[in-house]
Amino acid sequence: MFLTPFIKGRPVRAVGGAVEPPVRLHSVALLGADYPGLRADLRVKEGDAVVAGQVLFTDRKHPDIAFVAPASGRVASVTFAAGRRLSALIVELDGDKAEKAASAPIRVGTAGDARALLLSRGLWPAFRSRPFGRIPPPDARADAIFVHAMAGFDGAPDPAALLPGVAEEFAAGLRLLTLLTEGAVLTCFPEGLELPEIETPGIRRAFFAPHPMTSMTSHHVAQLHGQVRDRPVWTIGWQDVVAIGQLLRTGQFPGERIVAITDAHSGRPVLKRALLGVSLHDLFVGSSPPAANLISGPAISGNEALWLSRYDTSAARIVPPQTSNLWKALTSSSGALRPILPHAGLDTALPVGIPAVPFLRALTVGDAESVEKLGGRALVEEDMLRASHRCTSGTDYAAKLRTVLDRMEAEG
């Protein structure tokens, strides 16, 4: 009751080890919420049969950016939110009945080739740029590319356990990244990870201590690159780099991802082979207790969802705490603004040493100038997870940050 312990949503260390094969997966979805600002130009309609890697829609503003099917199946539904923005495109899987195209390696020689390949084959959305955390436009310049291969504290799969098994694909992916930037490709590993050195100019490695804040991309960018206002960077996860390597090797779209799932009941996280945008019900099939919430991403994000977000590699099932009605009447805040009460837990909730309380206050009132002054331009939603979790205000700071970033972006 009092002093909610973290136990139900403990921010676990990254998990490694044996990967369980999936139980049968029934559906995957591409979610509009993953691509803020996207206007989808549909290339399929409900009922169409699609194969893995087939273009489902493109970005109306940048028609070169393709969004593709993670696996083969049938388009079950396409729903829109307000303003004709895509809500979700759901593909019912057919268990790969469709015949696979013959696999043939792809050769990429020039920077133009590399961009065209990733754009047309659906891997471009793996990149997000800083500032603002958006999919970069096809012709955008990156002063550096940051590859996140850290053992996060959010229950994500541990690259230390998994990367050695796919080291060749990873290296091939990295080499392709070097064609996309004139700057460095910075791979950020946890201390102690052993991987053969890649002898390609432009690829640099950095090792970071296992700590919640030093495992954040924002920390890496601040340490190795500096400000992003005039020198934008792109970020990408290690599994997406491996996927690029697989695309080069096989010529086929690699929709598979290893997802770490944490169940509040069994406690121990396990790794499962799954798909991009996989249905969370499929991941947690079996022992489903009533009143359990499925979460895309770390348990503390509280991000209830039906499908895995494009950028998440972990999922959790939590059981919401039960509270009596009397207790709710005495303490609950039905939508009312609650205060930010400073406490030591908040001071360590933000990366890059940003002073938490002034920053959260500025976000709460949408004070873009102060947010900028405190270093908010380089942050994205994931950086706000711990602050939202720990603050007494109950504010969703990720959403507040997005609002402020949108304003900064509009004002330039």
Binding site: L3, Q227, L330, A336, R338, P339, L341, A344, G345
Partner: protein, 255 residues
């Protein structure tokens, strides 16, 4: 690891921390102290409920903690309407007009006690003894463990006190002085809402509060710490602003 997620959890922890000092005070002063305590609780809860109702906010119940702090530090023989007026001023002007605890930047108990001394000349806060200091220790440990008191503020306060005494008296303060000041230091100066919010700012804030407390100490230690807490709380936002400016300057110089 324990997580603070709700304002009332903070109130609960602070109230728990206040119990040993309150019991010490009741044990020492008996019925006179009980009378002060009950009046303080009734007045602060009335104001808290009026304001949270009007704003449709959930009550944080922090009025309880404010009432307990004031009861421990106020003289037990004061007229109850003095107490009621002082608490009303502290809670309404020091806290609720900003939107409640956590939206303002002052400690309501410090404002109440300062009002008591200013508005009713002749009110003298009783000098705390070492027993109050000892009774504060378990609560201090709890608040430190929960992160609701910043150790930086307390260490800086001690540094400020030593430096201030050296300037004013030419000597270091007695160990008993620290013990006697511990209650007010914990619940007034180190209040996370009144303290500076940046790490460097907390050092500065604590030192400012310690220096001020030493300079005012001729009028009695208890009121000295009250005024030191109040004035340091007033400059805390300025301290944070300076720290943030310095940080921004450093970043742009580097980037």
């Amino acid at each position: 690891m324990i997580a603070i997620r709700q304002p009332w959890q903070v109130t609960f922890a602070v109230t728990l921390a206040l119990l040993p000092p309150v019991l010490t005070m009741l044990d020492r002063n008996g019925n006179a102290a009980l009378r002060v305590l009950v009046t303080a609780l009734v007045v602060s809860l009335i104001w808290e409920l009026i304001f949270t109702r009007a704003r449709r906010q959930p009550p944080s119940w922090h009025g309880i903690a404010t009432a307990l702090i004031v009861s421990v530090m106020a003289p037990t023989d004061l007229p109850l309407w003095h107490l009621a007026l002082a608490l009303s001023f502290g809670i309404v002007i020091g806290e609720q007009v900003f939107g409640g605890r956590g939206f303002g930047f002052l400690n309501a108990a410090a404002v109440s006690l300062a009002f008591l001394i200013f508005a009713f000349p002749g009110t003298v806060l009783p000098e705390p003894g070492p027993d109050l200091g000892y009774a504060t220790l378990p609560g201090l440990a709890l608040l430190l463990a929960l992160g609701l008191v910043f150790w930086r503020v307390l260490v800086a306060l001690a540094i400020g006190l030593i430096a201030g005494f050296a300037v004013v008296n030419g000597t270091a303060p007695e160990p008993e002085t620290f013990l006697a000041a511990l209650f007010a230091a914990t619940f007034l100066v180190a209040d996370p809402v009144a303290s500076a919010a940046t790490q460097a700012g907390r050092w500065l804030y604590g030192i400012v509060a310690g220096l001020l407390a030493a300079f005012f100490s001729a009028t009695g230690l208890a009121s000295a710490v009250v005024f030191a807490a109040l004035l340091a709380g007033l400059v805390a936002p300025l301290i944070d602003d300076i720290v943030i400016r310095a940080r921004t300057g450093r970043r742009s110089a580097r980037g």
